[in-house]
């Protein structure tokens, strides 16, 4: 094992740190989040640094980096609470398209890498929590192509996406994955803000007509491609959360060094020092489990792979909750206001549990694998 960043990874992380420190500094980040539309300049700057094409093959205009490169990149993005659709598009959708194979790679991967296309995986349905098997969203053959009916919700940046990768049920019960451009007729988009100042959308399909080549995969291949997307997304999210914890710990320690009560800096009170120490322990564990998560992406044994990712996600949620709660507590009343960025970190770390399968879901996965072993 070797935990040292390669030269390329280090340089990429350094450049990203500089970009994020500047362009995602508190005020600029807030201003960007307040707009409902994506900031094209910010998005282009991520594409330029290679973030969007990181793991996409060089044949398709990407950088063909190993999966482990997700870690340095998403730790940096997490430090800056970058809310742009990097994970839904460049990580999850790229992984899904790559796993599905066929001509769709040529069609979508170069445009994901350049940032021209913004994709998001639409896999959740109302009332079905994290169940990734399509149920009420149905696709049926129509005029040589497909007809799509039903609803998807909680589509990460679904409003900003230029296309969605939608899971649907065929008449025979098979899972289908369809690429649906956002200008398709017969789709109603309900775009809403989220607790962590990102956005998500509900998509209602009412006889949306798609060409034959919208189909990316079906049956078992579709299930595997979807699983691939969720696993890559989980790994990136674990790294993002670990990066957010790292930065939040710095912010909180700085606050305790400067804020004075009872004639001395808060940092001089042992009770509060111990809280910071506990935050550090949690952050280090979360960071370690982020390594487990990216390692899982090259783990050949599918059972072990699922276990690693579920474990990492569980730990990211637990540690994230602890670090976030303590950070607010140590900021006192100021931590409760919307005026400092501590609250933004708190909410992102809270939401990290709710995305891509919450702790209950990960525990259920682990219990299932345990029972099977």
């Amino acid at each position: 094992m070797d935990f040292i960043y390669t030269e390329e990874q280090r340089m990429l992380a350094d450049s990203l740190r500089r970009l994020v420190d500047q362009e995602w500094a508190f005020a600029r980040r807030r201003a960007r989040q307040a707009a409902t539309a994506l900031d094209p300049q910010a998005w282009a700057s991520l594409a330029e640094l290679g973030v969007l094409g990181l793991n996409i093959g060089q044949d398709y205009g990407g950088f063909g980096e190993v999966p482990a490169s997700l870690l340095p990149v998403h730790v940096e993005l997490g430090r800056g609470l970058v809310s742009e659709p990097v994970i839904p598009s460049a990580v999850m959708s790229a992984a899904l398209v790559d796993a599905a194979g066929g001509p769709a790679r040529e069609r979508w991967l170069p445009r994901i890498a350049s940032g021209e296309a913004i994709l998001s995986v639409a896999y959740q349905e109302p009332g079905r929590r994290y169940d990734a098997r399509p149920q009420d969203c149905r696709a049926a053959p129509q005029g040589g192509g497909w007809r799509l009916d039903g609803a998807k919700h909680l589509v990460w940046h679904g409003g900003a996406a230029t296309a969605w990768l939608v899971s649907a049920r065929a008449e025979d019960g098979e899972t289908l994955l369809l690429a649906v451009p956002s200008d398709t007729a017969g789709v109603r988009i309900t775009d809403t803000p989220t607790l962590d100042r990102a956005r998500c959308a509900r998509l209602d399909f009412d006889g949306a007509a798609l060409p034959a080549d919208a189909l990316l995969a079906r049956g078992e291949a579709a299930g595997q491609a979807l699983a691939q997307a969720l696993q890559w997304g989980t790994a990136a999210l674990c790294a993002h959360a670990a990066g957010a914890m790292e930065r939040l710990l710095e912010i909180t320690a700085d606050y305790l060094r400067t804020r004075k009560q009872f004639g001395q800096p808060l940092a001089s009170f042992q009770a509060l020092q111990h809280k910071l120490a506990e935050m550090l322990v949690a952050k280090e564990l979360a960071m370690s489990m982020a390594y487990v998560a990216v390692a899982a992406l090259t783990e050949p044994d599918p059972v072990q792979r699922r276990r690693m990712l579920a474990s990492a996600k569980l730990e990211a949620a637990r540690a994230g909750r602890q670090v976030a709660q303590m950070a607010v507590q140590l900021h006192g009343g100021m931590g409760m206001t919307d005026e400092l960025e501590v609250g933004d970190f708190f909410k992102r770390l809270t939401v990290a549990d709710l995305l891509l399968g919450d702790s209950a879901e990960q525990l259920a996965t682990l219990a299932e694998e345990e029972a099977r072993a």
Binding site: Q124, L154, T192, P193, L195, L272, Q329, M336, T337, L355
Partner: protein
Amino acid sequence: MNLTWTPQERRFREEVRAFAEAGVPPELRAKVLAHQRLERDDYVRWHNILADRGWGAPSWPKEYGGTGWNALQRLIFEVECFKAGAPRLLPFGLSMIGPVLMKYGSPAQRERFLPRIIRVEDWWCQGYSEPGSGSDLASLKTRAERDGDHYVVNGQKTWTTLAQYADWMFCLVRTDTEARPQRGISMLLLDMRSPGVTVRPIRTLDGGHDVNEVWLENVRVPVENLVGEENQGWTYAKYLLGHERTGIAGLGHCHRELGVLKRMAAQAQSGGRPLLSDPRMRDRISRIEVDIMALEMLLLRVAANNGGTPGPEASVLKIRGSEIQQDLAMLQMEVAGPDAWPYDPEWMFAEADDHGPGPEMAAAAGAGYADMRKTTIYGGTTEVQKGIIARLMLGL
């Protein structure tokens, strides 16, 4: 020792329950149980309904228009009202400045201010914390200088809850800068409509507006609005904080939110079954029911022993009560699960056209979890409470 409720106490509970169930207007109950935002009139309305029944000041002695109830009765009343979906009683008049005026106020102050608290004819707010003085309240810097028959007040208060509706503020000010910090503090009753008072909202994590900054610039306060004696304000302030902390255990809140949690878990589906039937969720709910039971018995013991006058035990109640309130909010968020993610503060008003895309309560659950972090901070942080326990209960 008698560890059962007496027939009188049971009858009292039935009486309060029947009143609360019939007395809380349905639209108000719906707002409260859905965690929608309450506005000025919502609170005032409930206070007046109680006042009409003669229960407008449940913690006050009869001579001031109160019910004369003992501590157990007050607790029963709180729990039953919360369970019925009543808004919380505004603490600023009833639990804070009211008791202070009864003990330390002049007859004229008592006569003028106490009756107007019961129907919220005067809405009070608490001028304690300042930007540089939170846990270290005694370091407060707002100055009051004597000018003839007036004090002239300059400074800034913060975290002033619902000051946007307030008619009056009870305000800690420094009247002697030479003395030890605790010695030079006085308490003034300050008319919020005075020239020089500016209230600015502070948005909190849930996007809501409950707390404010209040700027005081050359605000003239008549000398007769000084509470007790000059430079003795710290004594009154501490007396008041003790009252604040018992209510802060939030037992009624815990009972109500447990009910909300169970309803949410019964409605949420997981794998084709109600989440409430999931053994993992059942375990969590059972655990928190135990927590609430323990808190309740602790509260009853403290109430019975002290005849309602809270001592340092209030800190024990505050620590535990605030943690349980937070745990309940966390469980509600976990029940909402993925649906707690979409959130817009605009969805939280009953009058809003749109309450969000998810199931009822889902959007409120994530924001509520964030908002409830305040409970271990306000009214003296958990760290401050632990310091009080160490000093006053353990003698360390």
